[in-house]
Structure formats: structure tokens, C-alpha cells
């Protein structure tokens, strides 16, 4: 079965299978023997193609956080069905999502306003800091989903644009 992980905005397709000695990682053009052996201290020994190194992994739902080679990385499991659904749902450019939890402190537009890409739509506040959010494309504001001072979570849809013809 084919899977994918999102790593720094790039979708990385892969598949995993069992082998006699562990697992095999199937990438586009190669197959690598892999294994992950948990250690008592919470870290793990990762072996790829015969080379072992220490990593620390933590998962939270579909999010995978890995400390590997001196850096902390974030990967997100992309569910096959959700990827399909997202492809049918239309453009991500129609929505303005919250990059972090917070609340709206200022609205620069109203529903029905024509906006151009890069134009400031609203100002939100989080962690005692203001952040300006801009239009992802040219279009017309369809709806603003939160009122000033109402709080929201990360990824909440703050504003939608009319779908493009």
C-alpha cells in the first residue's frame, strides 16, 4: 500500500513492507532495508541500508516529530483518502487559515469586497504579537468566519474567497 508524508511542504510518497529481517522502505526509485529499535531511554536506533544512528521519535495523531542528525523535524502522515478528498474539494487558495491560535484584532475587509493577492485582509494577535494575514489570490471575500476578539485554533478557516470560475 502506498503512503505519503508531508515534509516541509513536500509530499514524500513511500511504502513499507515486511522482510525476513525487518522492514523495507520503498521509495520512487529504490528499496532500502530499514529497522527501528527502541532503546530504554526513549530514543531509538534507526538502521537504514546497514547504517545505524540514534533518533528520537514522538507521534501525536498523524504528526510525527523526529530528532535526527542534529535537527528536529516534523512530518505529517497524509491519509490516502483525505488526499483524494482534498484534491476534489477545490483550491486551498480559496481559504485563509489561521497559522496559529489567536484572535482577530482588526478586519480590513468585509464580505463582498474585491481583494487582490497580497492585500491585507485582517490582523490577528497571538502570544502578545500581531500578525498580518494577506489574501492568497485575487478574488471576492465570500465570508468572514470569526468576529473581532473571538478566539480560534490553528488551521481554523478565518475567511473564504468566492471560488474561482
Amino acid at each position: 500500500m502506498h503512503h505519503a508524508f508531508k515534509l516541509e511542504d513536500n509530499e514524500q510518497p513511500m511504502a513499507l513492507s515486511r522482510s525476513a529481517h525487518g522492514y523495507r522502505l520503498h521509495l520512487e526509485d529504490r528499496v532500502l532495508p530499514v529497522n527501528l529499535h527502541p532503546e530504554d531511554d526513549g530514543s531509538a536506533i534507526l538502521t537504514v541500508n546497514g547504517v545505524s544512528e540514534r533518533v528520537t521519535v514522538a507521534t501525536h495523531g498523524d504528526d510525527v516529530f523526529i530528532h535526527c542528525r542534529g535537527r528536529n523535524w516534523h512530518l505529517r502522515y497524509a491519509h490516502p483518502l483525505e488526499r483524494l478528498a482534498a484534491a476534489l474539494r477545490g483550491s486551498e487558495e480559496d481559504v485563509l487559515r489561521a497559522p496559529m491560535p489567536g484572535s482577530i484584532v482588526r478586519l480590513e475587509v468585509a464580505a463582498g469586497d474585491a481583494v487582490s493577492a497580497g492585500q491585507t485582509l485582517l490582523v490577528m494577535e497571538s502570544m502578545k504579537m500581531e500578525t498580518t494575514l494577506a489574501a492568497p489570490r485575487d478574488g471576492t471575500v465570500a465570508e468572514i468566519h470569526f468576529a473581532i476578539a473571538q478566539s480560534f485554533d490553528r488551521d481554523a478557516v478565518l475567511l473564504t474567497l468566492e471560488p474561482n470560475e
Binding site: L16, R18, T56, L75, H79, P101, M127, R154
Partner: protein
Amino acid sequence: MSTSPGQWPFDTVLIANRGEIALRVIRTVHALGLRAAVVFHAADRGSPAVTTADAAVEITGETPVAAYLDGDQIIEAAKQTSAGAIHPGYGFLSENADFARAVEAAGIAFVGPKPEQIELMGDKVRARGFVEKSGFPVAPSAIEDDNPDDFVERAHAVGAPLLIKPSAGGGGKGMRIVRDLAVLETEIATARSEGQRYFGDGRLYAERFVENPRHIEVQVLGDAHGNVVHVFERECSVQRRFQKIVEESPAPALSQAEREQISETAAGIARAIGYRGAGTVEFIYGKGEFFFLEMNTRLQVEHPVTEEVTGIDLVAQQLAIAAGDKLDLEQAAITTKGHAIELRIYAEDPAAGYLPTTGPILRLIPPTGEHVRWDGGVVEGGAVTAAFDPMIAKLIVWGEDREQAIARARRALEATVLLGCQTNTAFLRALMDHPDFVAGEIHTGYLDAHPEVAESQPPDTATVERLLAAAALSVRPIRDVVDSTPTLHAAIGAWSN
């Protein structure tokens, strides 16, 4: 310190703060054999500061921040815990003269300066005037009074480039650089309305802007008996959005003669005030000249670099001063050794304009090793929330020289395991490699001049392979599919060797 064990006028210190600084103060309070009490908002229940303190009192507020700003509840908490002193940490109430006054009126020692000293230095206009009158160098400037038209004229006379700031400001909010005097009037109008919005005070001041300025600040200590010493300087070398990220001591920019000159100037200013407590006198330095910028009448976030090069515990000094002791430090005996660097670990995305991020702390393994200090405020199982500042921890490293300190910083950043929310550790690691940083060619506009440092470095093929392998072997949906069907595999022969 002249206060010996058992001779303190108070046996409990209430810490009116949270997170990293609350923990850091608790550490010294305990080391001195005293009890530590903290106040906490429900958002911090179970946080390391709360579980490390000897007593904790819950405070409430419309928002978590509002709770920590409520002086009445904090003084009440001090009474409930029989605390004879209140340490405000930094931020929140540390530079609030009304709070300091209310604490002392309640018969509790305020670990900080006298209220009137907070007021004098908190008003940038008055502070500048005082320093100038005392004969110390300030940058050419114009101060707004009741006549805004006249202010425009005088600001014009200072000449470009020019920096306009709200008098009541802080943290870089509402600051504007004017390079072309033709737009001076519009910029002043904008700065005034921003100052009004952020601080409820539209008054401004304008001063000569030093291009590529370096930010040098000097740690001072004064006791209630008129004794003042300086504890040498720090350089806040790299900033983003006027907020510091890297601090070091000694300042790479200064010669030994300049270090002594700037440090003695700072001590002179503190002496002129009759300053009590720990404070920091900030200077702008450029082209061999330095000008007084402002004085922070509190302990600062970057105080550990001073502690690492001098061996002086600044919080212990603060507490002894609050206890009424005479400073037991002789200026001539204060020396520095080696080089210390502090890096602020923020929950933020440097590649996206340093946008703050939030998330759970799933795994946290701070770096260890010789001369590596981790002043953290969160533990595994905690979370970075949108309620407070995004600073997670401070990493402080010391080396025999700057080169060794940088090398230790690199290693410590690579060893820092912090999983669950995005942080700036990879960015700081890239910064430690940047040729200009390594060469000490740093100034407050450094990151604007080098945006490439903030760009995220894509992983190489070998790393991507490793990340995918580790992720695939850890995520349930994949493991379940792969591990639950060996008989099926065997039956169809598809995966057999």
C-alpha cells in the same frame, strides 16, 4: 554577600512570574536556603515552576496575562505564604512603579529598584534628560513636548537618518526609521497614532539613527547604601523584529579600553541615580562612539551571560540588596573570564517571518555537557500556548574564547531534542555557522541584511530516507497494515524474499 545563612530578614520569597525566569529565581532562592513561593494562573498548573516551588497560590484574571499583572492578588499571595520579599522576575510587573510602591507599603521587600527610580528610567524622555544633565553622552535628539509643530522642526534639525520612537514604548513597537526628511511629517503622524494605540500615549521622541548599530549594555548593581559597581557589558548581537535572539559577553565589538570606558559610564549613570538593585544601562555603539539609549530597571533575560563570565549570581545579589545588605563586591575584584553566548529558543518559524507557533511538548531532552546551561520553563508533557511569549528556554554556553563558545553552541543545539512544536533551533544552528557571525561582524540589523539565515535548509536525500523510515515505522496506520498481514503476504507471495 554579608548576609550569612539564617540571618535573612525574610525566609520566603514570592516570585511574581512564570516559566523560565520563575524557575531560575527559585534555584537561587533555594541555594540561599530560603523558601520559594509562586503565583500561577490555571494555564500554568503543573508547570515546573509550580511544582518546584515550596508554595503556590492560584491567581485569576480575564486572560492568563492579566492574572500575572494583577498586583493586588500577588501581594495577597505573598501575605498568604508569609513571604517577606517579592521578586518580579522580568516582564509583567518588574518595571511597574505602582506595584513596587504597593509591595513596600504592605511591608514586603520589593526585589528591585526604588519606585521613583523605575519611574525616572521608565520615561525615556525624562531618563535621557537626566543622563544628559549628569554629563553622559546621549545621541542628538528631539523630544516632543506640548507643541507638536515645533517637534517636527526640531526632529528635522537632528537630521537623517532618524529614529522615531514612542516615549512610553518598548519592544520595538511603533518605532520608525526615517531616511528621507521629506516623509518626516507623515511618519511622525503614523508613529504618534501607533504610540497612542499600543501605549495609550502618543508622545514621541526622535534621535539620530546609527546605521548598523551595535547594541551594548552594561550590568550594574547598586545597594541601598549608595554603593554601585558595574559587572561589565553584554552585546545583544542578533535581533529579529527588535527582539533579541543572541546575546554575548564580552562584546566582540569593543576594545579593552572601550569596554572599560562604557562600563564606567554605566556605573556613573547608576551612581548619579543612587540606583538600588540590579539594572542594565543600554547603549548604541557605532564607529567608535556610544550613546545612552535607556536603562532597564530589572533583571534581564540575558543576565546569564554576565553570570557565566564573572561567576556572580545576579539573583543572589538582588536578594541581598533587597535584604538591605551592603554590596560585598569590590569593583577592582570583578573580572571576566572567557566568552559566553546566550541563544533564545523560541517556538516560532523563522522561515515564515518568525511567526510564533504552538504545540504540545512531546519530548524534551535539553543539551548537557560542560559549560552548557539550559534555563528552561517547560517540561515534557507541557505545551506552548498562545497565552504567553513564545520563548521556551535559553541556552547559555561558555568557552575559553568566542570560537570555543560558538563550537559548544553548535553541538548543544544539535543535541537539543524538542519534539511537538516547531522551534528556531535549526535557525540558530545555521546562524552559528554564518561567516559574518563567526567573524563577529554583527549588528542589530543583521538578520535584515542576511535573510538567507532564516531560510529553512531542505534535508538531503540520505536524511529524507531516514526521516521517512523512522516515520513509517512509528505511525500506526502504516505499521498496522504492514504488521497485521504476514499470512496474506505469504499466501500471495508478493513480498517474500
